[in-house]
């Protein structure tokens, strides 16, 4: 058993992803408290350039093997389980991404370590982790401990500052031999999204609309408002899923991350996966009929009202 904090490094196309830097920064602070080390675990092929960006870690454990050139849930799992078993860290931090979800729960099942998902805060009390998790799409917060004082947490992107984990330096690297891999899931290709008609990451004004809009026909009113504001329409995931607007207009975890001067959120509840994509906007104004909608927790201004009424009134006001 150790007091180390392990961070699983997520990388794609030769770059370590931002959520990993968030976790490294947090792990470093936590390790300073536990007296253990912040250890970055990187699985990849030709990992040196990746390792060179992991200066925030006290130590790096690297598995460098062609089998890890791309992410595969089964081979990651096969490699990680023995590492976590051997080190028995105080805490394993994994980003709450698609791959993170795969890996963390597989690890939990295989090692018996408990898993707290959708974490937005991780602290220590009496040397043991206490995790704040989001439940019910962000409508409830829970404070959770691990029964035996150690466990795994998957952390929502945007919970900690990215910069805190971006440090120069070359931590010692411990290289592990090629592990047993599990080839039952094989990477085939990475598919880039189709380019959209509008690049929502470049718009200064986004009128963003969610399931609260009700009918597809109502989008017209929203388009009119966007035009009146000189901006574009973006959407939450369900509207892109329904094909009402292209995927390239989707804001959030599996969509795009946007930072406009104005983000006007209409009928969007503010699920953690949506907030991930827009909480950095300069000015957030939310309109929702539910006074408890989590979107209001990141908004600067809010109105509890029907979005159709407000959209029409605002379009009229801007025209007149």
């Amino acid at each position: 058993m150790s007091d180390d904090i392990l961070v699983l490094v997520e990388h794609r196309a030769g770059t370590v992803l931002d959520p990993t830097f968030e976790l490294l920064g947090r792990a470093r602070a936590l390790a300073a408290e536990t007296g253990g080390q912040a250890i970055a675990v990187v699985l990849g092929s030709g990992v040196d350039p990746l390792v060179a960006t992991l200066g925030a870690a006290d130590r790096v454990i690297a598995v460098d093997d062609p089998a890890f050139a791309e992410f595969s849930p089964s081979s990651y799992q096969a490699a990680l389980v023995p590492i976590v078993r051997d080190r028995s860290p105080r805490l394993v931090l994994v980003a709450n991404t698609g791959p993170g979800m795969d890996v963390a729960s597989g690890l939990s099942a295989a090692t018996g370590l408990a898993l707290a998902a959708y974490a937005t805060g991780v602290a220590l009390e009496g040397g043991a982790p206490v995790v704040t998790c989001q439940l019910y799409a962000g409508k409830i917060d829970a404070r959770v401990r691990f029964a035996d004082g150690r466990g795994i947490a998957t952390v929502v992107a945007g919970s900690f500052p990215v910069e805190s984990g971006m440090a120069a330096g070359s931590p010692p690297v411990e290289r592990l031999g090629p592990p047993a891999t599990d080839g039952r899931i094989r990477f085939k290709a990475l598919l880039a999204p189709e380019a959209g008609d509008v690049d929502i990451t470049r718009e200064t004004v986004l009128v963003s609309v969610g399931r609260g809009v009700g009918e597809q026909e109502n989008l017209e009113l929203v388009e009119e408002l966007a035009t009146a504001l000189g901006g574009a329409v973006s959407v939450s995931r369900p509207l892109a899923d329904a094909g009402w607007l292209p995927r390239s207009r989707q804001v959030g975890k599996s969509g795009l991350k946007v930072k406009p001067r104005l983000y006007l959120a209409l009928g969007i509840s503010g699920a953690p996966e949506h907030l991930e994509g827009m909480r950095g906007a300069d000015l957030i104004i939310a309109v929702n009929t539910d006074p408890r909608a989590p979107i209001f927790s990141v908004a600067h201004y809010g109105a509890v009202a029907d979005l159709l009424d407000v959209a029409q009134a605002l379009t009229r006001r801007l025209a007149g």
Binding site: L135, D182, L191, A228, S297, A303
Partner: protein, 259 residues
């Protein structure tokens, strides 16, 4: 091909959620429940895949005493069989649920086990991967596209990443997949048909002994202070529009600023 779908009910978020007297769970007495959104997608995918590849769709739910409507809805939508697993007073922790499903699936033919990518009501969203690990099956989460290979031994799936990027993965069957969305909007089941099926349907049941916990201790639950930082604008739609226009003009945002 044998397709299995795991489904559960979750509290309806349209209702106000309150915390119980202990402060560690929802006050459940007056909650209304709906089928977990992602499970609806998982069922729709299973039905579509069955219609293409042949075989049958079996829907499993843990027996919490109130899943008849859920299961009748599955049948009304076109599932071939529905089965209640175990006997629970309330939704157990994910590790317990996974152990129960794994026990049930050991005696049930399965090529593809589909779950929702996550459910909103617990701390993990990970029953699928847990079941997979217990049964030693490969698992992929956040799946948006499933195609079964011509020989029925593999499936090609898409796993979603940030920015609309997806990875195409090939997975050996049997496997478990966490479904993020279905190729078509889940089909509608007429309420009258569901009502009728609730009276006439045959429901299979599997006894399982499942115990243990998730190893998590919930110390406290709370309703986040949602508008602690937002300034709330009251009034009629026109009044709200007026105030928003003023805020934008002040900051020089939008065409209004130019005018």
């Amino acid at each position: 091909m044998e397709f299995i779908v795991l489904l559960k009910q979750v509290p309806d978020l349209a209702e106000e959620l309150e915390i119980d007297a202990d402060g560690t769970d929802l006050a459940r007495d007056w909650l209304s429940y709906v089928t977990s959104e992602w499970d609806e997608y998982a069922l729709e995918e299973a039905l579509q895949l069955r219609d293409q590849a042949g075989g049958s769709v079996t829907c499993l739910a843990l027996d919490t005493g109130s899943v008849d409507e859920l299961l009748a809805t599955c049948l009304a939508r076109g599932a071939d069989r529905v089965v209640k697993v175990g006997s629970f007073e309330r939704q157990p922790a994910s590790h317990v649920a996974a152990a129960a499903f794994a026990a049930a699936l050991r005696d049930m033919p399965h090529h593809l086990v589909l779950t929702g990518v996550q459910a909103i009501d617990d701390l993990d969203g990970q029953v699928g991967p847990l079941v997979a690990t217990l049964l030693d099956l490969p698992h992929v989460s956040v799946v948006t596209h499933i195609a079964v290979g011509p020989d029925g031994r593999t499936a090609t799936v898409h796993q979603e990443y940030a920015g609309g990027v997806v990875a195409e993965l090939e997975v050996d069957l049997p496997a478990t997949l966490g479904v993020q969305t279905s190729r078509e909007t889940p089909r509608y089941a007429p309420v009258s048909r569901v009502r009728q099926l609730m009276k006439t349907m045959e429901v299979g049941s599997v006894e399982v002994s499942a115990d243990g916990g998730a190893g998590l201790v919930i110390e406290a639950m709370s309703v986040p202070e949602v508008s602690a930082t937002a300034e709330m604008i009251a009034g009629s739609p026109d009044a709200i529009a007026e105030r928003i226009a003023a805020i934008l003009a002040e900051r020089g945002i939008g065409k209004a600023a130019v005018r």
